[in-house]
């Protein structure tokens, strides 16, 4: 029974914070909003040198072999620094499905290159129905031996504009089926969408797009469950770091900003907002780590599923309350483009929506409670 970080996690956290303060300043975050690719390949390589893309990858495949809880410690720092680019897409949407479902050959082929920063992956799951459940997967898949061909439209696919490979979910007569699809083929057409967070979500049209079968025909949804669980909790970890930083910036501002001859942070109206913010951030942190711990230590399946749904339901709304308070505390300066707080406000919403907002997860919690 202990809610603190272990030594290795402390080291990882501190190293990540130092690194990202130097290598991912606010100027880079802003630059990437306007950038076509949306990430810096220099930073990407330096992150690979830190071992981060391969953090979860087993050592035999060129990774660091850390566990999922450790990754969440790192992602908290990513949220804090608003790191732009395809890191989560590659790690959660690429490395994780390959670790879960890949054959030995597939692991050997792709995991070392993910760890070395040579390949970018993303998960092509959602479609115009914008659903996260099994019924949401309607793109057609046709399996022939070890090959699979996809037809259909995938929507809200993060970082598909720069991805080398997609993990695609489609449907055969046997059910949901996964494939590893290279993007450099005529059957894959990628169009960027303009989004609230200015991240690079895309429409991906698949016209006889060819790839390798990942896992067995019709077994895709079972294989995706642990992937979706991890991706969902990863978004929570990102939100925790993001909201922690928004909160810290806001408290600092409340200490400095003077009106009526005193810092606005001496007014109870502001103090009570700050008290609510820290309650929401701390609440989010522990409910997220509880879910991450359940996953990392392989707790009973129903408990883990419940922990994941509770984490995303809570974190989605609690962090939105935090960034809303952050804007209000800042007053006029907060809604200018030049001031940093709005960067957090817009990105919070992206992660809130990713893999289901509070309404979606609350419904699942209710069902599991049996009410």
């Amino acid at each position: 029974m202990d809610l603190g970080l272990n030594e290795q996690q402390e080291l990882l956290k501190n190293a990540a914070r130092d690194f990202l303060e130097n290598e991912c300043p606010e100027t880079l975050v802003r630059e990437m909003e306007e950038d076509e690719k949306g990430y810096s390949s220099q930073l990407w390589q330096k992150m690979a040198e830190q071992g981060w893309q391969g953090l979860l990858v087993p050592e035999e495949h060129g990774g660091a072999g850390f566990d999922f809880l450790d990754l969440c410690v790192l992602l908290e720092e990513f949220g804090r620094a608003l790191v732009p680019g395809p890191f989560m897409s590659t790690v959660l949407g690429g490395a994780v499905p390959l670790i879960v479902a890949g054959s030995d050959d597939q692991k050997k082929e792709f995991l070392p290159k993910i760890a070395s920063g040579d390949l970018i992956f993303t998960l092509a799951l959602t479609e115009p129905s914008a659903r996260f459940d099994e019924q949401g997967v309607q793109a057609k898949a046709a399996v022939r031996g070890k090959d699979v061909t996809f037809n259909g439209t995938k929507l809200f696919v993060p970082d598909a504009n720069v991805a080398d490979y997609l993990i695609v979910a489609g449907r055969t007569s046997k059910g949901v089926t996964l494939g590893i699809v290279a993007t450099d083929q005529p059957g894959v057409q990628v169009t960027q969408l303009q989004t609230i967070a200015r991240d690079k979500q895309c429409e991906v049209k698949l016209n006889d797009a060819k790839g390798q079968l990942l896992g067995a025909d019709g077994k895709g949804w079972d294989l995706l469950k642990p992937v979706i669980q991890r991706y969902t909790v990863a978004e929570c970890a990102y939100l925790v770091g993001l909201s922690q930083m928004d909160f810290e910036i806001s408290v600092d501002y409340a200490k400095e900003r003077v009106q009526f001859g005193r810092p606005i942070g001496s007014f109870q109206a502001i103090q009570h907002k700050c008290a609510d913010m820290v309650t929401d951030v701390d609440g989010s942190r522990f409910i997220m780590y509880k879910a991450a711990w359940s996953i990392a230590t392989d707790q009973p399946a129903d408990e883990t599923q419940m922990a994941v749904n509770m984490a995303k339901a809570w974190t989605s709304e609690a962090t939105r309350r935090v960034v809303a308070h952050g804007q209000q505390i800042h007053g006029g300066i907060g809604f200018t483009k030049d001031y940093k707080i709005q960067l957090y406000f817009r990105r919070q919403k992206r992660a809130e929506l990713a893999f289901g907002d509070a309404d979606y997860h609350r419904e699942l919690v209710a069902t599991q409670l049996g009410i």
């Binding site: 029974m1 202990d2 809610l3 603190g4 970080l5 272990n6 996690q9 809880l69 408290v251 409340a254 200490k255 005193r262 810092p263 942070g265 001496s266 007014f267 109870q268 502001i270 103090q271 009570h272 700050c274 008290a275 609510d276 820290v278 309650t279 701390d282 609440g283 522990f286 409910i287 780590y289 509880k290 991450a292 711990w293 359940s294 230590t297 509770m310 339901a313 809570w314 609350r362 419904e363 919690v365 209710a366 409670l369 049996g370 009410i371």
Partner: protein, 410 residues
């Protein structure tokens, strides 16, 4: 990070569970409906039971206290040399978690929780020898006299006056919200000994026999028809100076002292989780389904929210004990627990009531029309004080903002 027990912790948890299974008197672990047979006694707890007119109830309270005493578990957080169990904070946490899960009443009240630890830190050898054993044996029950009509959130402005006269203090004034004073044998109080000093530095901490001439205890009836607390009046009450704990005029700081015992507030989370479980079970039961409102869709999602919030509260409690176990002293974190837990308690009562529609009206505990022994309706009323006592939600937010976040005081 680890939410599970170590093997040692699991063994201790097993020991506590086994003890409860063997020794907790039956009626204390009854269902809501069974408990409803003793409706008016429900909120008064062990302190009231031990002075109950009902012989069976008195016997039950005494049996439970002596079972705990055998293990040193009346005061699990006191050091062994004073008759406590000397449990580590994590063991205390497990003990409290399991006792709450079983619905077992805490024994000893304010004497065990507050006065004993204060005496252990600040008391003289004579004071300890006189009072500690009687707290542990259950012979003497204590009440706390801190608040006054004019000193609520601003407690340090208290005005009850103690004037030195030879070897006595002569005390005049009034206390309010003295919980359980009608069942208590002794009272500890903060009194003003130096009116000219800055308000925190003119207060002393004194103990007095509640039967001392000049003390009048008058029960206050709360909005739920219960009498959990009192007004206590002091008219020329003579208290020996040797009954002061700590130095004269240092009473504020004596009163703020806490031993190193766990302050996670785990029992709230345990109780809310249990209430939610009972609600879900009830609305699907043969007996209960007729009470569930037809348009349950929104309540259903509220129940999910309350369960999620309970999980957040569990984690806040885990955080406190985990910090204490690492030798850290919780700062604003304890205020977060109090704030979040008490507000959740009220929300939970609203949600539970909402699930029963018009049946939420019913206050009576028994009868064919009463769902869940009117638990949520009663709780809706009885949880009102929870955001007020022990520091209002507003005070908690002030503490979090100033002491925790370093925002400037207004």
């Amino acid at each position: 990070m680890d939410w599970s027990d170590t093997p040692e912790q699991a063994a201790f948890r097993g020991e506590v569970r086994e003890f409860i299974r063997n020794r907790l008197p039956g009626p204390y672990r009854g269902t809501l409906e069974e408990a409803a047979n003793d409706a008016e006694e429900l909120t008064a707890g062990w302190q009231a039971d031990r002075k109950s007119d009902d012989g069976e109830r008195r016997d039950m309270a005494i049996r439970w206290a002596s079972a705990l005493a055998e293990k040193g578990w009346i005061a699990p957080h006191w050091p062994k040399e004073y008759g406590g169990a000397g449990l580590s904070v994590v063991e205390q946490f497990i003990y409290n978690q399991e006792m709450s899960s079983a619905g077992a009443p805490a024994v000893g009240g304010m004497g065990v929780s507050l006065l004993g630890p204060t005496l252990i830190v600040h008391g003289t050898d004579e004071q300890k020898a006189e009072h500690l054993p009687k707290i542990l044996s259950g012979e003497v029950a204590w009440a706390q006299g801190y608040s006054e009509p004019g000193a609520g959130s601003d407690l340090a402005s208290l005005q009850t006056r103690a004037v030195r006269d030879g070897d006595d203090y002569v005390i005049n004034g009034q206390k309010i919200w003295t919980s359980g004073a009608q069942y208590a044998d002794w009272l500890f109080a903060l009194v003003r000994t130096e009116p000219e000093a800055p308000k925190h530095r003119g207060i002393s901490f004194v103990m007095m026999d509640i039967k001392t001439p000049g003390i009048t205890v008058r029960p206050l009836t709360d909005m739920g028809w219960n009498q959990p607390f009192n007004e206590t009046f002091f008219e020329d009450v003579r208290v020996p100076v040797r009954n002061r704990i700590g130095e004269e005029n240092r009473g504020w700081y004596v009163g703020m002292t806490l031993l190193d015992f766990e302050r996670s507030g785990i029992s709230g989370a345990v109780q809310y989780a249990r209430d939610l479980g009972r609600f879900v079970e009830f609305v699907h039961s043969d007996k209960g389904k007729r009470f569930a409102r037809q348009d349950m869709a929104i309540t259903r999602l509220e129940v999910a929210d309350r369960r999620i919030e309970t999980e957040v509260l569990f984690n806040f409690a885990f955080r406190i004990v985990s910090m204490q176990n690492r030798g850290m002293v919780p700062n604003y974190e304890a205020s977060v627990n109090k704030l979040f837990g008490s507000e959740l308690h009220q929300k939970l009562a609203r949600t539970g009531m909402k699930g029963f529609g018009l049946y939420g009206n019913l206050w009576e505990r028994k009868g064919e029309h009463v769902p869940m022994a009117a638990h949520f309706t009663r709780d809706y009323v009885s949880s009102v004080p929870h955001t007020i006592f022990s520091g209002t939600s507003e005070i908690q937010r002030n503490v979090i903002a100033t002491r925790g976040l370093g925002l400037p005081r207004g």
